[in-house]
Amino acid sequence: MAPVLEIQDLHVSYQSREGALYPALTGISLGLMPGEIMGVLGESGSGKSTLAGSLVRLLPANGNITRGAVHFEGKDLLRAKPRELQQIRGARISLIFQEPSLALHPTMRAGEQVRQVLTAHGSPGRSALNDRVHEILALLFFEEADRISRSYPHQLSGGQRQRVLIAQAIACGPSVVIADEPTASLDSATQMEILSVFRTLREKLGLAMIFITHNPALLSGFADRVLVLYAGQIAECGPAEAVLASRRHPYTKALFQSIPEVSEKRGNSRKSKLPVILGDSARSSLPARGCPFEPRCPEKMDICREREPATVDLSPSHTVCCFKYESESV
């Protein structure tokens, strides 16, 4: 099966006011299969949001895509004309952002906001448009659709607002949805509710999804594949069960250990220190050469300081970028 979206060797950097270039992504390659949920995991500053933005060329003014290609429906999005991009964004590839209260117009009813997405990408007749808006909202709100359609954003809960954003995102029947921390501002019960909405939509509409998060706990039982980003590079990528159950990269391992576990027989682990990853991933604390995770890595070796590790294929679908696994390459 051919991937619906293919990223090849993507390099993005930001330019500071003084003119210096700071790399944010260095050589990302990956293919998103139709109907696949790809979880992208990383700390702030790892390049997650830059990845989301660069796929549809919505980067801040000082962001430059310096190399690479993004193939989607026979086009290279990085070389597409602005007009072509406009037709793709929101229609074929749509984005969902973190803060639903900021992404919605405060004085416009929810139904109208969904309708505007449809009119922006072609104008069927008015009654066909109304039917379509109702159909989309019904998919997310069931019998409540009419009431929600007439409501203003401030009359909706955080979870409902996020579902209105999802309605906008799927209105034109896209094949790819990019969601950048869509659940970060929601409480944990609502988070799970939104995840199950995404799963249902994937089954009903066959959407492929790039789901960006900093919370590894959200991905288990949700994502099909997991990509771990560190300092703009892919640290580990593979099927969700493989990456989440037997984490290989020291960074992936450390990320999971830093979350407190809820279990009944935890007795003595309570109030104990949580294992942390020392240091930070700020650009200034990255080493000039060698593996970018080396200064914080609990399993570092001498070689890690000398050169960058190559990507190792643990299995045809599971890759890890670490010297520890060089001998396990298939």
Binding site: S44, G158, A189, F256, S258, P260
Partner: protein, 269 residues
């Protein structure tokens, strides 16, 4: 042991008036009672809208409760006047969710730290600078960062700074209103460890408000579960996890994503 904080049947109404003059009453807190012992962590867990943050605001003297009592070391701050509040206020400090929006972006780290000390009018300039650098060290920041602006700090460093500022007045109670929720999970763990360190070295008492039951269970001695302005279940952290009695608690537990923390020792191949 005498409780540090004792809250008795606390009620807070908000009244909303619409343009046409219709009055709508919102019961944010509906008879909340609990006590916190010194040196312990009391977690309040609940979904958004359950009244957690209203509770924090009432305890930190930022809102006036409609009725009920808040006893802090034997002083009733719910009934006391401005004088009482001014006396108690420095001893109860609040830390918010988003450090980026609770720190003045144009002030340096040093300015932010000495602001509460200036307001106390008790310290000389030199004393204040000394205290600022010892506060920075206490929360794991380098005193060399004193000249930086909040924008030049990472999310975790900013939250450390917010904690340092809260500690400046040597409070007895720290109210942490979703203080970890906006941070990356690796940074969450660092800040959680810092809070536990400060508790054992300074004997701090925490009121930890969160929707993350897993973190609450890790840090707290006692957990109260809130729903619609009421505490629906309360007890030692172990008991709440092992035998959740109330449906809301079970729902919150079910919403904690399940995974194992330690990676299995034997690799798959």
């Amino acid at each position: 042991m005498k409780p540090l904080l004792k809250v008795e049947s606390l009620v807070k109404h908000y009244v909303r008036r619409s343009l046409v003059g219709a009055r709508e009453e919102l019961l944010a807190l509906d008879g909340v009672s609990f006590t916190i012992l010194p040196g312990t962590t009391f977690a309040v867990v609940g979904e958004s809208g359950s009244g957690k943050s209203t509770l924090a605001a009432c305890l930190a003297c930022l809102e006036f409760p409609t009725s009920g009592d808040i006893w802090f070391e034997g002083i009733n701050i719910a009934k006391g006047g401005e004088n009482v509040r001014r006396q108690v206020h420095p001893q109860i400090q609040l830390i918010f969710q988003d450090p980026a929006s609770s720190l003045n972006p144009r002030w340096s780290v040093l300015d932010i730290l000495i602001e509460p000390l200036i307001l106390q009018r008790k310290f000389s300039h030199k004393e204040m600078n000394l205290r600022a650098s010892s506060l920075l060290e206490r929360v794991g920041l380098s005193p060399r960062m004193a000249a930086r602006l909040p924008a030049e700090l990472s999310g975790g460093q900013r939250q450390r700074l917010a904690i340092a500022r809260a500690l400046a007045l040597e409070p007895k109670l720290l109210i942490l209103d979703e203080a970890l929720s906006a941070l990356d999970c690796s940074v969450q763990a660092q800040i959680a460890n810092l809070l536990m360190d400060l508790q054992s070295s300074l004997g701090m008492t925490y009121l930890f408000i969160t929707h993350d039951l897993a973190m609450a269970a890790h840090l707290a001695d006692e957990i109260a579960v809130m729903n619609r302005g009421r505490i629906v279940e309360q007890g030692p952290a172990e008991a709440i996890l092992k035998q959740p009695e109330h449906d809301i608690t079970r729902q919150l537990l079910a919403a904690v994503p399940k995974f194992t923390r330690a990676a299995p020792s034997a690799p798959e191949r």
